[in-house]
């Protein structure tokens, strides 16, 4: 099948989604990230790989946190980083997304890190760059509900770090999967890496249909869903989900789907708990879990920088 993120040699030239990435490409990214972990631990946390290259952070949707991790990663690769706070300003001026891109091409960009509220926006940009014959790489930093591939990869790095092998794991993803780009990327990554059992736990209002087609087992009950899991991935519950008809209240959500030490005890004794951050303590996760021995939430952040360094250096070289 045609895959717009791979070039004619099958090499990764954009990172748009985990879906469709061959297993060896994912493993290569994780292996490379392992080498970058060592760079971040040095006195001089910098390698000259992308010296002279320009990385543009295009955040059409605001996210200081994600933007910062990409910025750190790019700077540790010695790239020049340009943060463009596009937000609504250029669209308010009537400029289309592709107008903006054409403008930035003229500034000799080498790599675009794109965050956009619409699913598929990075595909549109990558296809446009091909059409206008620009050798600029695109890394998706989150598009709508669709994908957040670097988060998915850093979750895989974290799981591999603590569990070594994917082939005998039971992984549960808990919460608002319907609106979650992280969940979609995790699901594709886990199934591609050969995790035999991926579970989704949440109320029916927060689960998309057809999850079985993605190889996911659906649970509406935390006690059943968490039983004997090796890995628990918690998702952030956006505040706006609690004002509509999806959920009655944060309190009721927490009672049924919040991760408490008691519920976590149903998972394996050495289970790890991931969360993409920022956490809503007392909504999807109890503080005792968030700060407890099973949580690997802060290591995720550290791994995230190495994974983003790996992704940027691999696509920029292809």
């Amino acid at each position: 099948m045609y895959n717009p993120q791979l070039n004619s040699n099958g090499e990764l030239t954009h990172l748009l989604s985990i879906e469709g990435l061959p297993r060896d490409v994912i493993v290569h990214i994780l292996d490379t990230a392992a080498s970058f972990m060592e760079v971040s631990a040095r006195e001089v946390k910098k390698v000259p790989l992308l010296r002279g290259k320009s990385v543009f952070n295009l955040f059409f949707e605001n996210s200081t946190r994600t933007r910062t991790t990409f910025e750190i990663a790019a700077k540790r690769l010695s790239a020049d980083v340009i943060n463009l706070d596009i937000g609504r300003s250029s669209t308010a001026k009537g400029e289309t997304l592709l107008d903006t891109i054409d403008n930035l091409c003229a500034m000799h960009a080498n790599l675009f890190v794109v965050r956009h509220a619409s699913s598929g926006a990075p595909y549109l940009i990558a296809e446009h760059l091909t059409r206008v014959n620009r050798d600029i790489h695109v890394v998706n930093a989150g598009d709508g509900r669709h994908a957040h591939p670097t988060q998915g990869l850093l979750d895989m790095y974290t799981i591999r770090h603590y569990k070594q092998d994917f082939s005998n794991l039971r992984v549960a993803i808990v919460g608002d999967i319907l609106h979650s780009r992280v969940a979609r990327s995790d699901i594709h990554a886990l199934t591609t890496l050969g995790v035999p059992e991926v579970r989704a736990i949440g109320p029916q209002t927060l689960l998309p249909g057809h999850l079985d087609k993605l190889g996911v087992h659906v649970y509406h009950d935390m006690a059943q869903g968490l039983k004997d899991c090796d890995v628990v991935i918690m998702l952030r519950l956006q505040n706006e989900r609690m004002t509509g008809a999806l959920l009655p209240s944060a309190g009721e959500y927490f009672r049924h789907f919040g991760l408490t030490p008691e519920k976590l005890a149903l998972a394996k004794p050495d289970a790890i708990v991931l969360h993409p951050g920022p956490m809503n303590r007392g909504v999807e996760i109890h503080s005792a879990v968030a700060d407890g021995p099973h949580a690997v939430i802060l290591p995720q952040v550290t791994f995230g920088i190495a994974v983003r360094m790996a992704v940027m250096s691999i696509v920029a070289g292809n």
């Binding site: 090499e11 290569h28 292996d31 490379t32 392992a34 080498s35 970058f36 972990m37 060592e38 760079v39 040095r42 006195e43 001089v44 910098k46 390698v47 000259p48 790989l49 250096s313 691999i314 920029a316 070289g317 292809n318």
Partner: protein, 169 residues
């Protein structure tokens, strides 16, 4: 065109010669840094032969290469591991073959990101000429000329023994 000796010289014997040449340097308490992968094997061998107790440093220069723009990232990158403080140390950088000098340049750059060593010497088993940068090895066992399309690499057998291999590219 000078002919290469057939069979190729014994790399293990060359390692012993190299250890003998380096031996006087031990007075300075040098640390060994091997360049991945051939240089790392030789450095490991030198450590045994010289009876050093300190672990060697390992360097993968993939992140420092100057041909990234043409070739992209190397498909297999190993973590660099320098288990000692570089600052003020006498270092011996170890590689298998010295050729253009670009790998040495990259390794020096990487080393300096760990600190300012007191000195750096270069030790190689083979020097095939063809330098593109002003780099020279303090210790070299075998000066060799290769024909067009030939490439010399060091291989490690399953039993750990090192041996030269001539490749035709």
């Amino acid at each position: 065109m000078p002919h290469l000796p057939n069979p190729l010289p014994d790399a293990e014997a060359q390692c012993r010669q190299l250890a003998d040449r380096i031996h006087p340097e031990l007075a300075k308490n040098p640390a060994l840094v091997g360049i991945h992968s051939g240089g790392a094997w030789i450095a490991e061998r030198l450590k045994e032969l010289l009876g050093l107790s300190e672990d060697i440093g390992l360097i993968d220069v993939s992140f420092y290469r100057d041909d990234f723009a043409e070739k992209g990232l190397h498909p297999q990158v190993r973590p660099t591991a320098i288990p000692f403080d570089v600052e003020g140390r006498h270092l011996i950088l170890v590689d298998d073959v010295l050729y253009t000098g670009r790998t040495t340049r990259a390794a020096l750059n990487e080393l300096f990101d760990y600190g300012r060593p007191a000195s750096v010497q270069l030790a190689v088993l083979a020097d095939r000429g063809g330098r593109e940068l002003p780099v020279a090895a303090q210790y070299c066992i075998w000066n060799v000329e290769l024909a067009e399309g030939e490439n010399l690499t060091l291989a490690q057998a399953d039993d750990g023994r090192l041996a030269w291999r001539l490749e035709h590219v």
